[in-house]
Symmetry: C2
Subunit: 231 residues, 2 copies
């Protein structure tokens, strides 16, 4: 009875951006768990689908989650109990995490419920931050620049406060906040060079200068990169 | 004659944290290039050594580089010319990059010399930021927290300015700045919970509360993580 829960970073979307370690653990685990929308497919599971050996037990953690809302505690409580029951029965559980488990991941809600109850290992993954930068050909940060990563759902004032004086910038969770992000960047004279990256490394990937993008919403998986003004 | 230069993220140290994509490109490339110290082994090459097929041409970009100094332009000029010559002759070149190529990587010195001269593709990798967090069991950032990544070589005043009001923090390039970093964090009341991670994912990995670490220097590959005070 020495089973382990793995927080498995599965990368930003391209199944080839899985690490060798994640692939090994994924294939060997008798149980996999993953976040999923209320209805429909799990993005994390879609990423690893080409690699699944078949015959694994699956736990879909279904979450009715709108943009900007935080998830329901009881759903994670239930999923944690289910995972702990597998571990107690000696079965390893691989929890699939889009990008990296510890970088703004929904895995964190499970982590805090599991860390004191079972053996747990985090396998780092390629984050969307690195994937977006690589796709756009925009270095994230260099030399002794400071990098600030700011979630777009923050109120305008908080966004602005974090942008003033920032060097390299990444604005994550853009989604329905696209219009606000564009306006606040313009207010702070940081719209020049700002780049919107949607669905990095997927076939539907889109990269554009934020200045040229119309509308007030972007896909949930999108990010704005703003190189340092001093570069 | 449509050869490509690949900026290949090879991850933080564990050879198993290479991505499937990086492995494929690494194995197929007739030429590999990598940063190396003036004398001795290249860390980037050591990471991929178990995966090398043999028979590849190798370009070691040897740099006499002390902590805190920036490298000599003529060495990168020469390496870029050598790489461009291979590409012109139809040979792909895989440039090995520790962690991720665009996250404070020395690859950026090559990138700016190559991007207008040949086809170039960046393959994102697992960054030391994610590897250190996973190893230490310390989430980097969650929900709508802002993350600030600060290079330790900045002067005390600049370090302090970036720490004041910061939420989640990662201080990179710690090396010989360990003592200063400890002092400035204490000044800003952020020493509690600060964690030093050395050589993440390698056999020699060390993780300790910064408060308990003596001395004024850490290895070159080390980072201090400071969770958000509000977590």
């Amino acid at each position: 009875m020495s089973a382990t829960v793995y927080g498995l970073g599965v990368g930003p979307g391209d199944p080839e951006l899985l690490t060798l370690k994640a692939l090994r653990i994924l294939r060997a685990a008798p149980v996999i768990a993953y976040p999923a929308p209320d209805i429909g497919d799990s993005f994390a599971r879609m990423i690893v689908a080409p690699h699944l050996p078949g015959g694994q037990q699956e736990i879909a953690i279904r979450m009715p989650l709108g943009d900007g809302q935080f998830p329901k505690a009881e759903i994670y409580d239930g999923a944690a109990d289910e995972i702990v029951a597998h571990v107690a029965a000696g079965r390893d559980v691989a929890v699939l995490c889009e990008g990296d488990p510890f970088f703004y991941g929904s895995f964190l809600y499970l982590y805090e419920r599991l860390v004191d109850r079972c053996a747990l290992q985090v396998v780092p993954g390629v984050s969307s931050l690195m994937a977006c930068a690589g796709a756009a050909g925009l270095p994230i940060a260099r030399r002794n620049e400071t990098l600030t990563v700011v979630p777009a759902p923050l109120p305008d004032d908080a966004l602005r406060a974090r942008l003033v004086g920032a060097e390299a910038l990444a604005i994550i969770k853009v989604g329905r906040h696209l219009g606000r992000v564009r306006r606040v960047l313009a207010d702070c004279a940081r719209l020049d060079g700002a780049c919107l990256v949607e669905r990095a490394t997927l076939a539907s990937q889109r990269i554009a200068a934020l200045r040229d993008v119309g509308g007030d919403t972007a896909p949930y998986f999108s990010m704005v990169l703003v190189p340092s003004a001093r570069s």
